[in-house]
C-alpha cells in the first residue's frame, strides 16, 4: 500500500536519452497521513490488548516473560496432576472442588498480582509516560478502564485455565457431566469476581507507589498480612468454638472475602476453620456488598489518582 | 585566596574513564566548566566536592586533599545538580538546618542572611516541595552560601531556569566572583558560560581540552579558518581585492544576505588588511562580523578536533 509513493521528483532532467517511465526517483520525504483516525474506542481497545499481553510479558523482553509464565505453570501444574490422578485411579470425584482451587493457590495469584499490577501502571507513572496518553484522544476513564480490564482478564486467564484443565480432565475421567458442568460454572463465577477484586486492589496500590519494588512489596504485604491476621484470629475463634465469628472475620482479607461469597452464593465448601462460612443471609449479603464496594472504591480511587497525575 | 588544585587526576569506573589525567587550578573569580554531555564535568565536580576519590592524582583545596576531609567543607559550598532537598521543610528550616550542620554560632541569622542574598525571603516559609525549579535553585544556593564559603561549586546550575531566573543567578554568581570567592560552575549551554565566565575550562571526553579566556583560545587556534561576514557598499570589488590577498582563502557572495562570506586563514593579517583596503578603494564597510567566534563554534572545533 505504500509502493508508488508520491513520485514528485522526476528522474533526470530532460536530457539526451529520454528517461523511460520506469526510471524514477521516489520521494521518500515526509508524507501526510490522510487515512482513518479511529477514536477513543479503538485506542482503549489497543491499550487493553497491549496491557493484557504485557501482563504475560508478550511484546516485552524475554526476561519479563519468565515470571508470569512460571506462575501460570505453577497455577496449572496441580490441576494437571489431579486430572492425571483422577483419570488413572478412576476416582468418582475430583480431589479438589472447582471453587476451592483458587483459594488453595492464593499464594501464586498474589504473586501474579504483586508482580504484574506495578508493571502495568507503576511504569507509566515512574517514567512519566502518562502525560503522553492524556495528550491524545483517550480520556482518563479510558485509561483506567483499559488497565483495570486488562489486569482482571490476565488474572482470569490465570485462574480459569486450571479450572478448564480440571473440567476437561473430569469429563475424560467420565465423571458426571451435570455435576461437573455446574461446579465448573460456579468456579468460573468465583474466579471472575476474584480477578476483578484482586486487580482493583493491586492497581490501586501500584498506582500510588511509582517505585516498582515498593509496589510489589506493598501488594504482597497487604495480601499476606491481612490473610495472616484473619486466619490467626479465626484460629482463636475456632478454639473458643465461636463459629459465627469465624464467618464474619472473613470480611477482612481479599481471599477470604471470595471464600465467604462463594460459600454463601455458590454453595461452595468454605476453607475457613470448621468450614464456617457467612453465618446468615445478612452476612452473605454483606460479603457481596463489601466485594462490590471494594471494586467500585478501587475504580474510584484510580480515577482520582489519575486526575491528579494527568499531565504533571 | 582559595585555590582548588587538580593534579594529574584521573577517575575511572571499571573500564570507563570519566576523567583522564587532568591538571588545572581553579582560583578566585568565576570559572566556567564546559563540555558536552558525558565529558566528565560532573565527575570532576564531584571530586572537587569530595564526593569521589580520584583514581590517580590529587584534588586539593589550598594544597590539602579534599577526599575524606570533612574539614574542607568549611570552605566549600556545593550546589548539586540533583533537585532533591529536604522537600518537607520550608526553605528557612532547610537553610537553618544547614547552618546548624556547619556549627555556626547563630544559625538563624546566618540563614536569614543567605536567604536575603538569594532574595528568597518572600517564600522562605513555604515548603520546598511547592517551589518551582528556579526557587529550588535559589534555596540550594542559600544552603551553599550559609557558611560564607570561599569556594562555590555548582553543577549545571542553570538547568531548567527561565530567563529571569537565569539572569538573576548570573548576577549572583558574578557578585560572588567579584567578592573574591572561587566560583566554579558547569554547563553545556554556551550562551551562559559566555556571559558569565571570562575564564573557561573545557573538558571533552574526559580530557582537558582547553583553558583560559575563550576568545584567546579561539585565536590560539590559528590553523582554523576564520569565517567572516562582510557587507559593504561594493561587495564585488571588495571581493576581488580580498581574494588576491594571502590572508584570504575563499570568498563567496551570499545573495540572500547580500553579503560576502569570507574565509580568512591569517587572522591578524586579514583584520588589518580589510579596513585598509576598504579605505584605499573607497568602499564603505557596513558590517564586519566574525561568524564563528561564539563559544558554540569554538566548542565544536574542540569537540571535533
Amino acid at each position: 500500500m505504500t509502493q508508488p509513493d508520491v513520485a514528485a521528483v522526476p528522474g533526470p532532467p530532460p536530457g539526451p536519452p529520454a528517461a523511460s517511465p520506469t526510471d524514477v526517483i521516489h520521494n521518500i520525504g515526509y508524507r501526510k497521513y490522510d487515512g482513518p483516525r479511529l477514536g477513543r474506542g479503538y485506542a482503549r481497545k489497543s491499550l487493553y490488548s497491549q496491557s493484557l499481553r504485557g501482563a504475560y510479558g508478550l511484546g516485552r523482553s524475554a526476561k519479563s516473560k519468565v515470571l508470569p509464565m512460571i506462575l501460570l505453570g505453577a497455577m496449572c501444574a496441580p490441576a494437571l496432576i489431579m486430572v492425571a490422578v483422577a483419570v488413572f485411579t478412576h476416582m468418582t470425584k475430583l480431589p479438589v472442588a472447582y471453587t476451592r482451587y483458587a483459594v488453595l493457590l492464593q499464594a501464586v495469584i498474589t504473586l501474579f498480582v504483586a508482580s504484574q499490577a506495578p508493571q502495568s501502571v507503576s511504569r507509566d507513572l515512574r517514567f512519566k509516560t502518562t502525560p503522553l496518553y492524556f495528550s491524545r484522544p483517550i480520556e482518563r476513564v479510558d485509561y483506567v478502564v483499559a488497565k483495570f480490564a486488562a489486569l482482571a482478564t490476565a488474572l482470569f486467564l490465570l485462574t480459569a485455565l486450571p479450572l478448564v484443565i480440571l473440567y476437561i480432565g473430569a469429563l475424560l475421567a467420565k465423571l458426571d457431566f451435570g455435576d461437573q458442568t455446574a461446579g465448573f460454572a460456579k468456579g468460573l463465577v468465583s474466579v471472575v469476581l476474584l480477578s476483578v477484586l484482586f486487580a482493583g486492589i493491586g492497581l490501586v496500590i501500584a498506582a500510588v507507589t511509582p517505585r516498582r519494588g515498593f509496589g510489589v512489596a506493598a501488594i504482597i504485604a497487604l495480601f499476606v498480612i491481612t490473610y495472616g491476621a484473619v486466619s490467626s484470629v479465626q484460629g482463636v475463634a475456632m478454639s473458643q468454638e465461636k463459629y459465627d465469628v469465624i464467618g464474619w472475620l472473613g470480611l477482612f482479607s481479599p481471599i477470604t472475602l471470595i471464600d465467604g461469597f462463594q460459600t454463601w452464593f455458590l454453595g461452595a465448601t468454605s476453607a475457613f476453620p470448621n468450614a464456617s462460612g457467612p453465618p446468615n443471609v445478612a452476612a452473605g449479603l454483606v460479603y457481596l456488598l463489601v466485594i462490590a464496594g471494594i471494586i467500585a472504591g478501587c475504580f474510584g480511587l484510580l480515577m482520582r489518582r489519575y486526575r491528579k497525575v494527568g499531565m504533571a | 585566596m582559595t585555590v582548588i588544585g587538580i593534579d594529574k587526576a584521573s577517575r575511572w569506573f571499571g573500564n570507563v574513564v570519566a576523567v583522564n589525567d587532568i591538571t588545572m587550578a581553579i582560583g578566585p573569580g568565576v570559572t566556567g566548566l564546559l563540555g558536552p554531555n558525558g565529558a566528565g564535568k560532573s565527575t570532576l565536580i564531584n571530586m572537587m566536592a569530595g564526593f569521589l576519590a580520584p583514581s590517580t592524582g590529587a584534588v586539593t583545596l589550598d594544597g590539602v586533599p579534599i577526599w575524606r576531609n570533612e574539614q574542607a567543607y568549611r570552605e566549600i559550598g556545593i550546589v548539586p545538580e540533583r533537585e532533591a532537598m529536604y522537600d518537607f521543610l520550608t526553605a528557612r528550616e532547610f537553610v537553618v538546618a544547614n547552618a546548624e550542620l556547619h556549627g555556626l554560632p547563630d544559625p538563624g541569622a546566618a540563614a536569614q542572611k543567605a536567604l536575603a542574598t538569594v532574595e528568597m525571603e518572600y517564600a522562605q516559609d513555604r515548603r520546598i516541595e511547592t517551589y518551582s525549579k528556579g526557587m529550588r535553585q535559589r534555596a540550594k544556593m542559600a544552603s551553599a552560601l550559609v557558611h560564607e564559603p570561599s569556594v562555590l561549586l555548582l553543577d549545571e546550575p542553570f538547568n531548567g531556569m527561565d530567563p529571569r531566573q537565569r539572569l538573576h543567578l548570573m548576577e549572583l554568581l558574578r557578585r560572588m566572583g567579584a567578592e573574591g570567592r572561587t566560583v566554579l560552575f558547569s554547563s553545556h549551554i554556551l550562551e551562559e558560560v559566555e556571559q558569565l565566565a571570562h575564564h573557561i575550562e573545557v573538558v571533552v571526553a574526559g580530557r582537558h581540552a582547553a583553558s583560559g579566556d575563550f576568545r584567546k583560545i579561539r585565536r590560539l587556534m590559528t590553523d582554523r579558518p576564520h569565517r567572516y561576514l562582510v557587507r559593504s557598499s561594493d561587495d564585488r570589488q571588495l571581493a576581488s581585492v580580498l581574494i588576491a590577498h594571502a590572508s584570504t582563502a575563499g570568498i563567496e557572495l551570499d545573495w540572500t544576505e547580500r553579503a560576502l562570506r569570507i574565509q580568512a586563514v591569517d587572522f591578524a593579517a586579514f583584520t588589518e588588511f580589510l579596513p585598509r583596503i576598504a579605505r584605499d578603494h573607497g568602499i564603505r564597510l557596513f558590517t564586519v562580523s566574525p561568524s564563528d567566534e561564539s563559544l558554540e563554534s569554538v566548542f565544536s572545533y574542540l569537540v571535533t578536533a
Binding site: 519494588g213 490467626s232 473458643q240 | 564526593f51 568549611r74 556547619h102 556549627g103 567578592e179
Partner: protein
Amino acid sequence: MSTTAPSGRTHPAGPRLQAAPPVRSGIYHRTVARLTYRALLGRRRALLLFCLPLLLLVIVSAVRALAGQDDGTTADLLQGFALSAMVPLIGVIAGTGAIGPEIDDGAIVYLLAKPIKRSTIVSTKLLVAIGVSVVFSALPTLLAGLVLDGNGQHLAVAFAVAAAAASIAYSAIFLMLGVLTRHAVVVGLVYALVWEGVIGNVVPGARTLSVQQWSLAIAQRISLDSSVTSDVSLTTGVVFLVLVTAVAGWFAAHKLRTLKLAGEE
C-alpha cells in the same frame, strides 16, 4: 551537643582551615536527628508505622473479646504476629527510611558536605531509627500484652523487652541495607517476611541465625510461661544481638564514608 564557635567571619577569602575548630564528631548530632525524624514521620511511609501497631491492637482486642484472658493465646499472638511480623516490618520501615530515600534522591549531599564525621551521621540516624522502631514496635507489643492478659506470666513485659532488643538489631541491619542498596525496602521485606517469618519458624538450622530467636531468648528469660522458648541460649542471643548491631552500624558508617555520589553522566 553544644555548638562550638566557628569563625563567624564574613569575609570569604583567606584560609580558615588552620584556625577552624575541629570537625564535629560524636555519636549524636541534633540537627541530623531532627531531619531524620521529620523524614521518617512526616511522609507517607509513616502511615505504615502507625498502621501496623494499630492492626496489632485491633487484633488483640478482638481476640481478647473472643477468648478472654489466656496465656497461651497471648504468647502465640505476641510471638506469631508481634515479634515475627510487626517488629521486623517496622524495623524495615524505620531502618531503611532513616537513610535510604536520602541516598536515593541525593539529598544526603547536604549532610555529607558538612564538617561532620560521616560516622556521626550514621550513628545519629541509627539512634533515630532505633528510637522510632522501639516506640512503634516495643510499646504496642507491651500494650498488646496488657490488653490480652494484663502482663500475666510477665508475658507483656517479656515480649516488649524482646521487641525492643530486636528493634535495635533490625534498625542496624536495615539501616546498613539502606546504605548498601537502592532496593533496601524490597530486600528488607523479603528478609523480614521470608527469613524471619517463614524460614525462621520452619527450618531449625536457620533459627540460630535469626534476630527473632535471639530476642526470643530474652523473652524466655523474663517470662514465667514455659511455652515461650527460643532455640538459642540467652548468652548466645544477647551476644549475637550486640554483635550484629555493632557490625551493621560500623559497616554502614564505613560504606557511607566511601559512598560515591558519582555523576550520572
